[in-house]
């Protein structure tokens, strides 16, 4: 499937996520795919990109083979440019210093709202999830990239609970609610790159990954997707991209 023969779904997510990042941006990243994507972007096309961690780290020093297991512990402060309080690193979002925040979630809906709080009824949940952390702040205050595996149970018409507001009820409802900046930017899955319609703010497919057909994406989605008139095709991960990822994560902790 690639010029390199093969790659995992996680590698595909990391590569596709890295490509939407631009040089000079400041990016809020968690560990795992987001950190790999941001680091890959720095190595390939965005040397002036800055990474932020929620624990309070600005411009960490990422050592290949020593990816931090979390963004809130001392290992990720080593040789960083700056450490600061959680409050202050999150306030960078509000002040406008952050271009992109990476997000995940248990569920995403057609308007890009994310749920990481409750499966089922919040009053009597089937599952109590760990909660928002800084996710709600990222979703509220900057453009977010959601990176997740494309599954029908995760891509639902309406999330059970809006932990992190996307385009809320669509149209102008997000900014009417008071969130006048940011919003869902891209949803990157193992099948496609998706965006949001300018007017309705519904999720739409912008480009399909190599070998993926539109029906396949719709079948893996719990609501009716929009499709761009001319759906693009992403280029397969390159040898160089995969080599960097495997140098960063030689034990394949995140890219398995």
């Amino acid at each position: 499937m690639t010029e390199n023969g093969s790659h995992s779904a996680s590698e595909l997510l990391a590569v596709m996520s890295s490509r939407v990042l631009e040089d000079g941006q400041t990016v809020f990243a968690g560990v795992g795919i987001p950190l790999l994507a941001a680091t890959l972007a720095q190595r390939i096309h965005a040397p002036g990109l800055t990474i932020l961690f929620e624990g309070g780290v600005l411009g960490p020093f990422i050592v290949p083979g020593e990816l931090p297991p979390s963004t809130n512990e001392q290992r990720c402060t080593r040789q960083a440019n700056m450490v600061l309080s959680n409050t202050d690193v999150l306030l960078l979002l509000q002040r406008g210093y952050v271009d992109i925040g990476f997000m995940g979630g248990a569920q995403i809906d057609r308007y890009g709202n994310l749920n990481s709080s409750f499966i089922g009824d919040a009053e009597d949940p089937k599952i109590r999830l760990p909660g928002t952390g800084g996710g709600n702040d990222i979703a509220s205050l900057t453009r977010m990239i959601v990176s997740m595996i494309h599954e029908k149970r995760r891509f639902v018409e309406d999330v059970d609970f809006v932990t992190s507001t996307g385009y809320w009820h669509g149209g102008s409802s997000r900014s009417d609610s008071g969130l006048t900046t940011g919003g869902p930017y891209k949803v990157i899955t193992d099948l496609a790159v998706l965006g949001f319609d300018e007017e309705t703010r519904r999720m739409k497919v912008e480009a399909l990954h190599d070998g993926v057909e539109p029906e396949q994406v719709q079948d893996a989605t719990g609501f009716e997707l929009m499709f761009d008139d001319e759906i693009g095709r992403t280029d397969a991960p390159t040898v160089e991209e995969l080599a960097v990822l495997r140098e960063m994560d030689p034990d394949r902790v995140y890219i398995a």
Binding site: T87, V162, G178
Partner: protein
């Protein structure tokens, strides 16, 4: 929920804020916490968790505490499992990303035995900061539109009187007690922290009582050599306890990293039956040891040495 300003001022005025030595034992410090108090914890997830004081509060059979923290890890499980707290206010609650969703948090909240009050991470930080500044609220531009605001008591929407913009006013948090672990402080309570500061300075200033635990109590002279490193002033501090490895099995920057084998063993123990698992853990690791050193002994000398070796390497390599 918000303390009226008169009460806040009266409570602060009534405290003994004089320059005085306040070194005491974990048990003596635990006696400064009352049942029902709002207890705020410094640190974040696995880092600079004031575990020794959490351990001492549970041993002292505290009840009905409201616990708040920026992000909550296994110490939250211990509060729920021991019954010391049935209410945790935090932004994220699980042992840590690598161990997945906390089974103890799930069990207690899904069965209605305990509550996890969820606020955005920044909102919690701004709430402590408002408390530290002595104001009843600070506006934020986050959380609007989400279902989080419908489930919590406190924030109010407002149209900005200057710009007309919609804002969310988040109310000040002024905890009854702050528990904060630091690398070093003096007998008066002047504390210096290295590495990630988390929300600790704001929490200390916001709280009505502060209990410091420290890896090492140093002389006031030592603190005075670098007054620009002091992050918590003694006037806010009510108790100073020396607690070596006071975050174990969590980490303390520059001193030790997380005790991973112990954390893995804990995760395994609660995965079979969360409620029984956490209660067995409490019995063995919290109630039974005769003191903090005996607890460390249970964690194992090899783990202590290994965590310290890794912790120092982050700093010095």
């Amino acid at each position: 929920m918000i303390k009226p300003y008169g009460d806040l001022r009266r409570e602060t005025e009534a405290r003994d804020r004089s320059l005085r030595e306040k070194v005491m034992s974990l048990e003596e410090a635990a006696a400064l916490v009352d049942d029902g108090d709002h207890v705020a914890l410094g640190g974040c997830t696995l880092s600079r968790t004031p575990m020794a004081m959490v351990w001492a509060l549970i041993r002292a059979r505290k009840k009905d505490l409201v616990v708040s923290r920026s992000i909550t890890s296994t110490e939250g499980d211990l509060f729920y499992g021991s019954g010391a707290s049935k209410h945790v206010l935090t932004s994220w609650f699980s042992q840590g990303i690598v161990w997945g969703v906390s089974k103890v948090m799930r069990h207690y909240t899904e069965t209605g035995q305990a509550t996890f009050e969820e606020w955005s991470h920044m909102a919690i930080g701004v709430r402590y900061r408002a408390g530290a500044m002595g104001v009843p609220f600070i506006p934020v531009r986050s959380m609007m539109g989400s279902d989080l605001t419908g489930r919590i008591d406190g924030p109010k929407e407002m149209d900005c009187p200057f710009t007309g913009e919609k804002l969310l006013l988040v109310p000040a948090l002024n905890p009854d007690v702050a528990l904060i672990h630091v690398q070093r402080c003096d007998p008066y309570g002047n504390a210096q922290m290295d590495g990630l500061p988390f929300m600790d300075a704001d929490i200390a200033m916001a709280a009505n009582r502060v209990i410091l635990t420290a890896e090492r109590i140093v002389s006031n002279n030592q603190i005075r050599r670098a007054p620009d490193r002091t992050k918590i002033p003694f006037i806010t501090v009510d108790a100073v306890v020396e607690a070596p490895y006071g975050c174990a099995p969590h980490e303390c920057y520059g001193v030790y990293e997380p005790f991973l084998p112990n954390l893995d063993a804990y995760a395994a123990q609660i995965s079979r039956d969360p409620e029984a698992g956490v209660k067995e853990y409490l019995e063995r690791y919290v109630y039974e040891p005769k003191d903090w050193v005996a607890y460390l002994d249970l964690l194992g000398m090899d783990n202590v040495i290994d965590a310290a070796r890794r912790g120092r390497s982050v700093y010095n390599d």
